[in-house]
């Protein structure tokens, strides 16, 4: 099943890219200011994108965050809950192009942007944008199975598009430096465990999951090898946390992230069992900023912040 899906995806993507290519070749787009285009290879094929496009629409907060780092503003954004760092996009001067889940295709077609950047939640609309509307579209989803590598590719793509390759390279080097420093310190900081609290209960995540950056990239040793096939966690009890006795406990507060504390993580984890772990004794229960960790995720500004949060606790 998996394989057939994969192969199918490959074929579909290849087909789509072919069509996209021919479509681009035949489209009568007016020449851009510089008239230069760059060919971008992304999750769903290869697209010719104008360099420094004037009107950019995106649905992804991570991409917005990276653009912010490059000093570029998007012109169309979804009607979403923007975190503090991207609060300016609430302004009406930025065109609202649908919800996070449903692009408003007609408005987008009417606005005829020069580039649309989609990811995860809107990846399914690729065909609509690239084939039906003939608008250059790139899918810059970060591949959860190799997030860092994939993120670097996507960032490099953004660099090519916005003619800011040096800037991106510098930012990525900084991130690498930061990650390496953190890794060096992590090697003797004991074992970490990542948990997510929601509805008063705890789910543990491990290397390879979306929060796996902590183990995979920053080299924090795993207190518990939460086995995973796919990026999901496991339901655990507080006894489990005590038994695994992590030296650092990284907490993602699912309910807190939504601005409504269903039951704040502090309250859930403040109990005798968790308090008897090394992490609690040494004050190493780290509350990760849920907004950065999963609303925004991988972005040139946000990633250093995420690494910083982990580093701070070492």
């Amino acid at each position: 099943m998996k394989i057939s899906f994969r192969t199918l995806l490959g074929t579909v993507a290849a087909g789509a890219s072919l069509i996209a290519l021919t479509a681009c070749g035949g489209s009568s787009e007016p020449a851009k200011a510089e008239g230069k285009t760059v060919s971008i290879t992304h999750a769903q094929g290869t697209t010719e994108v104008p360099v420094n496009p004037e009107k950019v629409f995106t649905f992804d907060l991570g991409v917005l965050d990276s653009m912010e780092a490059l000093g570029i503003e998007a012109d169309g954004v979804p009607d979403a809950q923007f975190p503090e760092s991207l609060a300016k996009y609430k302004d009406a001067k930025f065109e609202k192009i649908g919800s996070m889940k449903e692009p408003n295709f007609e408005d987008i077609a009417a606005a005829a942007p020069d580039l649309i950047i989609i990811t995860g939640r809107t990846a399914g609309s690729y065909k609509q944008f690239s084939e039906d509307m003939k608008i250059p579209t790139v899918d810059l989803s970060v591949d959860a199975s190799k997030p860092m590598e994939s993120f670097k590719e996507q960032a490099a793509n953004l660099g090519k598009i916005f003619d800011a390759e040096d800037k991106v390279a510098t930012a990525l080097t900084d991130i690498d430096t930061k990650a390496t420093e953190t890794k060096a310190r992590a090697s003797n900081a004991g074992k970490g465990l990542i948990v997510l609290t929601s509805g008063g209960e705890v789910t543990a995540y491990s290397a390879g999951s979306r929060f796996g950056l902590i183990h995979d990239v920053l080299g924090v040793a795993t207190a518990a090898d939460v086995k995973h096939d796919g990026a999901h966690g496991e339901a655990v009890s507080f006894e489990f946390i005590k038994e695994k006795n992590p030296d650092t406990l990284y907490v993602v507060d699912r309910d807190g992230a939504m601005g409504t504390a269903g039951e704040a993580a502090d309250a859930v984890l403040d109990n005798e069992l968790v308090n008897s772990t090394n992490a609690a004794k040494n004050g190493k229960i780290v509350k990760l900023d849920a907004n950065s960790w999963y609303m925004v995720g991988y972005g040139l500004n946000n990633l250093p912040k995420m690494i910083g949060e982990v580093a701070q606790a070492l």
């Binding site: 199918l8 295709f105 995860g120 939640r121 990846a123 929060f211 796919g230 990026a231 496991e234 999963y294």
Partner: protein, 336 residues
């Protein structure tokens, strides 16, 4: 004393509802015109920019809404006829739960990005086959021909639905929030992102069944008189009912796989149709139900977009109204 709505109710019983006095022909004409107006408005209001593209987009959406109106309207009407009740719909038989379980499992095992970019026809095929197989199994296993067994079948469907929901919530708990975000978009029916390919496939399937339903319209009238009467009048009750149940299963499965789950929409449309039509012959009921569904969906979407600026999913509002109607009907005691 609560009134029992049985088909057909004594005409003189109602008071103060002028609509009920209208002839079915008139109702049908009015609805047909209303549907056409709704479609025309929907296709033309506020067109801007790339007109050709916008028209194509709107065409696909209208097509999806029409198909769902036909599928849900017909399946609910037929189902209520063969089960001789005015309250149950085929979609409560664990369909929604199964659909959610399929989606949840897909996101859980393949990741959300795969789900969104997967070949739509394949996904659609898998969903329809699974849902039809599920209901066929349920029918085969339980259907013995008595009227009591239909209720039993419903209840079994509902219980299995609870089981599916249990599985789904477990998977949802283990899922990462970002994957869950994508998953929850699938919990609600949406007419805005329909694959044109699927539209064609669904149109063929639904069209075929609609033709069969139309040709069975006289049998439906007999079936509505109850099992014994129908058998005495020479209808092969068991065969017809089995056929209808399979048709319902296919219709619901196709509609769910196309746009997502709708539970109370069918109930809403069929109840209004019965309120409007004085004559309970299916020759009138079938088209009127379908047109009502079309007007509700297309008109509703139009109002949502133009008045409320597209903020709320239409299906949610319709479900809610349908749900309220259901409670109202219950309190009125319109259940046999």
């Amino acid at each position: 004393m609560p009134e029992v709505l049985t088909a057909p109710p004594p005409v003189a019983r109602r008071r103060g509802n002028p609509l009920r006095k209208a002839s079915p022909r008139l109702v049908l004409m009015v609805l047909a015109v209303a549907t056409l107006i709704a479609i025309a408005l929907f296709m033309t209001v506020d067109l801007k920019g790339a007109i050709g593209y916008a028209l194509k987009l709107r065409g696909i959406r209208v097509g999806a809404m029409l198909l769902v109106a036909i599928a849900v309207g017909l399946s609910t009407l037929m189902f209520q006829t063969v089960t001789s009740n005015r309250l149950l719909t085929p979609s409560i038989m664990g369909f929604d739960a199964l659909y959610l379980l399929i989606q949840t499992s897909l996101v859980f095992t393949l990741g959300s990005s795969t789900l969104l970019t997967a070949a739509p026809a394949l996904k659609f095929g898998i969903e329809v086959v699974l849902m039809v197989a599920f209901s066929a199994l349920l029918y085969r296993w339980l259907f013995t021909g008595g009227s009591g067994s239909l209720h039993l079948m419903l209840l079994v469907g509902i219980v299995i639905g609870t089981l599916f929901r249990g599985f789904s919530s477990l998977l949802q708990r283990l899922m990462e929030p970002s994957d869950f975000l994508i998953l929850q978009d699938l919990f609600f029916a949406s007419f805005n992102q329909v694959e044109p390919v699927l539209l064609g496939i669904s149109a063929v399937i639904i069209g075929v069944i609609a033709v069969i339903a139309w040709r069975l319209r006289h049998s439906f009238d007999v079936l509505a008189l109850g099992r014994e009467t129908a058998i005495n009048l020479g209808v092969d009750h068991r065969r017809t009912v089995s056929l209808v149940l399979v048709m319902c299963a296919v219709l619901v499965a196709v509609s769910t796989a196309l746009v997502g789950p709708v539970t109370f929409f069918g109930l809403l449309v069929v109840s209004i149709a019965y309120q409007l039509v004085r004559d309970f012959s299916h020759a009138w009921l079938l088209p009127i139900t379908v047109l009502l569904g079309a007007v509700t969906l297309i008109g509703g979407q139009l109002i949502l977009e133009q008045v409320f600026g597209f903020n709320t999913a239409l299906s949610i509002i319709i479900e809610f109204i349908g749900g309220l109607l259901f409670i109202y009907l219950l309190l009125k005691g319109s259940l046999k």
